[in-house]
């Protein structure tokens, strides 16, 4: 009996072990390159398994990389600027509120059916429902904000009619709330790409299922393996397929940055953009790393509500703190990933005004040098009634738990102590808890915050400081600022940018935040890749890319 039992037991355990071995996947290790019948395969690291490939539901940059290449909107954001894509041309009404787009002849879905204006109307109305995370992007369109706010449905008429309408198969009419400087660039945004009403489902599962993922971009989904990889192949039905040179794109989901780098060095990957932090300075020094401007800024925010520290309500104190921080040292010695010292909220190199001048350059540094100005900081603090930091309350600096945030907070702690004799205590919270604290001002003094814009117009960076916007994290409110922002939101061209410059002047005079640095997006690219484009919103465009033979 005993022996039989022992045998059964042993067999069960073995079977349990062996059972798991049966259906492991045998994918991966796809050798990149042009071997075989000259098939051009480009492999990159997506870093994670993107949440979705559905244009209407996506809210993450990893998903955008795929969607930007499997779908195509009315316009396309390319290296040479905005270009007509599915739309052949458009007209704008005199008052700047009605856009009429004419679709290109012969544009098809990957299953051969024609792309119609109705597909856009369907996709946009679907994506502005208050169930998506990115529906706010439609705000310039008439009544879209009300739909996203849950006030009205997308099927309203008269006053409640949503401003997007397919006049016929090839004509799409869009009515805006007011003239909008950046609306045309929005039509290249993933959320505004068309989808087919007969394949979509509520959760976006269709977009990860090769049988259902009908799309209209240069590539289409061939396979998807959860947490492992997604494979895209050239879409022969794409209107510009003749100019697409890549046959296949493999997106790996390697989470660990050092593994990604090892795979890149082994030649298994052509592109990686998340790197081990400790390797970055060396890669920058050797010139291997490409740094693209990005529309993100890291800063400290103050609690400016009644629950906040009284000392921080004084603008001179806030200015003193800002001047006491040496951003140059922070980017050179702490973060070390090519970040640029920030002197405001609008990053340099990404936003350009009506004269095609860099918004950041035109506005200047507002007397806030990158390396700080300790003498002036001390003076301001003394003027505020705290000579040499005497009588100044101890401050608490909140940050969300991570190594880099800790080093950053420690550097700031040290600088404020040395330069202004202000004691700073550090407190960290795990990410989700932290976010809640930040948006409800549930922190006493200061908190680390970062903001990444949604579209390429400085408005996206400044907007968060408008009264009542929780995203500022500070509870800041200034009617004068709001007034200029409201002007900017409803005007175009010179008027628009002048209002933004004025709004920024007001903001910087109030200093409701402490600028730290502007983010950049790093990119490590294999030598054989040509013509890849990474937009300031961080999206890759592979449609004009080619792989070339590299001779050593």
């Amino acid at each position: 009996m005993k022996k039989i039992l022992a045998l059964v037991l042993a067999l069960t355990m073995l079977a349990a072990l062996a059972g798991c071995g049966g259906n492991g996947n045998s994918s991966s290790g796809s050798a990149p390159g042009m071997e075989g019948n000259q098939e051009k395969v480009f492999t990159y690291n997506m870093n994670v398994d993107p949440k979705t490939f559905d244009p209407g539901l996506n809210a993450a940059v990893d998903g955008s990389h795929v969607i930007n290449n499997t779908f195509e909107g009315l316009y396309r954001d390319t290296e040479d600027g905005l270009k007509p894509a599915i739309a052949e041309s458009h007209t704008v009404s005199e008052d700047g509120t009605v856009y009429t787009f004419t679709l290109r002849d012969g544009v098809k879905w990957s299953d051969g059916k024609p792309v119609t204006a109705g597909d856009f109307e369907f996709a946009w109305k679907r994506a502005m429902e208050p169930i998506t995370e990115y529906g706010f992007i439609f705000a310039p369109i008439k009544n879209a904000g009300r739909v996203y706010g849950g006030e009205i449905g997308t099927d309203g008429t008269g006053e409640d009619e949503v401003g997007v309408k397919a006049l016929d198969e090839k004509t799409l009419q869009v009515t805006l709330e007011a003239p909008c400087e950046y609306f045309l660039s929005l039509t290249a945004f993933p959320t505004l790409m068309p989808v087919r009403s007969d394949v979509v489902d509520q959760d976006g599962l269709w977009a990860k299922d090769p049988a259902k993922a009908i799309c209209n971009g240069p590539f289409k989904l061939e396979s998807y393996t959860m947490n492992d990889q997604a494979v895209l192949v050239k879409n022969e039905n794409y209107w510009n397929a003749a100019n697409v040179k890549i046959d296949k794109i493999v997106g790996k989901m390697i989470v660990e940055a050092s593994t990604g780098l090892t795979a890149f060095r082994a030649g298994d990957l052509d592109l990686i953009d998340v790197l081990p932090r400790e390797e970055v300075p060396q890669l920058i020094a050797s010139g291997e790393l490409i740094l693209n401007p990005y529309i993100g800024t890291v800063f400290l925010t103050y609690n400016l509500t009644d629950s906040g520290n009284a000392a921080l309500q004084d603008v001179n104190v806030r200015k003193a703190l800002a001047l006491a921080v040496d951003r140059e040292s922070i980017t050179k010695l702490v973060t070390r990933s090519g970040e640029k010292p920030a002197t405001g909220i609008v990053p340099s190199g990404a936003f350009f005004d009506h004269n095609d001048k860099d918004f950041n350059t035109v506005s200047g540094d507002y007397g806030l040098p990158a390396s700080g100005d300790v003498a002036k900081a001390k003076q301001l603090l003394a003027d505020a009634g705290y000579p040499n930091g005497e009588g100044f309350p101890k401050l608490e600096l909140f940050y969300n738990t991570s190594d880099i945030n800790k080093s950053l907070a420690e550097a700031i702690q040290e600088m404020l102590k040395t330069n202004l004799n202000i004691e700073v205590e550090l407190r960290n919270q795990e990410w989700a808890t932290y976010m809640e604290s930040l948006f409800t001002q549930n922190y006493p003094d200061m908190a680390r915050h970062s903001w990444t814009g949604d579209y390429v117009d400085p408005q996206t960076m400044l907007e968060i400081f408008m009264t009542g916007n929780p995203l500022s994290g500070s509870g800041y409110s200034n009617p004068e600022f709001d007034k200029q922002m409201q002007i900017a939101q409803t005007t175009v061209g010179e008027e628009h940018f002048n209002a933004l410059y004025k709004a920024q002047d007001i903001l910087m005079a109030d200093m409701p935040f402490l600028p730290l640095y502007y983010n950049v997006t790093p990119m490590l690219l294999s030598d054989r890749v040509e013509g890849i484009y990474a937009s300031p919103t961080g999206k890759y465009w592979f449609g004009d890319m080619d792989l070339v033979e590299v001779t050593e």
Binding site: L9, D203, M226, N227, K252, I254, T259, M435
Partner: protein, 306 residues
Amino acid sequence: MLRYILKRVASTVVILFLIATVTFFMMRAIPGGPFTRDRALPPAVEAALNERFNLDAPLMEQYKDYMVNLVKLDLGPSFQKPGVHVNDIIAQGFPVSGKVGGIAAIAVIVLGVPLGIWAALKKNKFPDYMVSVISTLGITIPSFVIGTFMMYVFGERLGWIPAGGLSDWRSYIGPVIAIGGFSLAFVTRLTRSSMLEVTAQDYIRTARANGLSRGRIIFKHALKNALIPVVTYIGPMVASIMTGSFVVEKIFAIPGMGKYFVESITNRDYTVIMGTTIFYAVFYVIMVLFVDIAYAVIDPRIKLEQ
């Protein structure tokens, strides 16, 4: 025997119920939620999402609904992977983690036990010292160091193992060593010390005095008793390493289930937290049950019925 197993299954159900309940209320007590974003969602959107995932119902009602579904083995939809069921997430991740962990578990048993015996028999001689040094290293060096080291030396420098992913047999070397290294070292040491303890006992001396062969003494008389603590450790270990490791799977880019144990908590993916916790708990108690049965098989003095 059968009665014993039935009794154990009944108590297991109670344990699992308690684990599920405690996990449910503990995870709901942490601040933040599955829809916490770095760009706070408008109230209408958050309300719609909460309604869709039944998060707007009173907590007790949500608890009741969850437990009812759990009885039907329905672990619910993930919050972070829209439309994907937690059952599917486990069905996809476990075979991968289980394969790597299973190989590691076999390696631990097949290598660890004989090494321990060998060291015990050669006590205070060279083989003993060598095994001691290696096993001390195995216990003290954390898996992420072993993993990173393997990846760097054999993956990047020498190119002997692939840079991440699971493909041919070589790709298993790194993860198996990283995930099984600690257990292997621990089992070796445990077997050694347990073996030394047993061989010092009177009945072994008696057996030796009676002129039994050395092999017979070790394998028939000493080993059986010496294995009891080892088996105690191996049971839960199998459950632990077969459900994957967050760190090791990350380093070697393995699409297993280890990451869900950690990421689901960061993301407040409630159903995934529950699903992975319960899955691990079930696996664990089953392995403990196996261990208890194995006791009776190894040592006739242990009676299951008592």
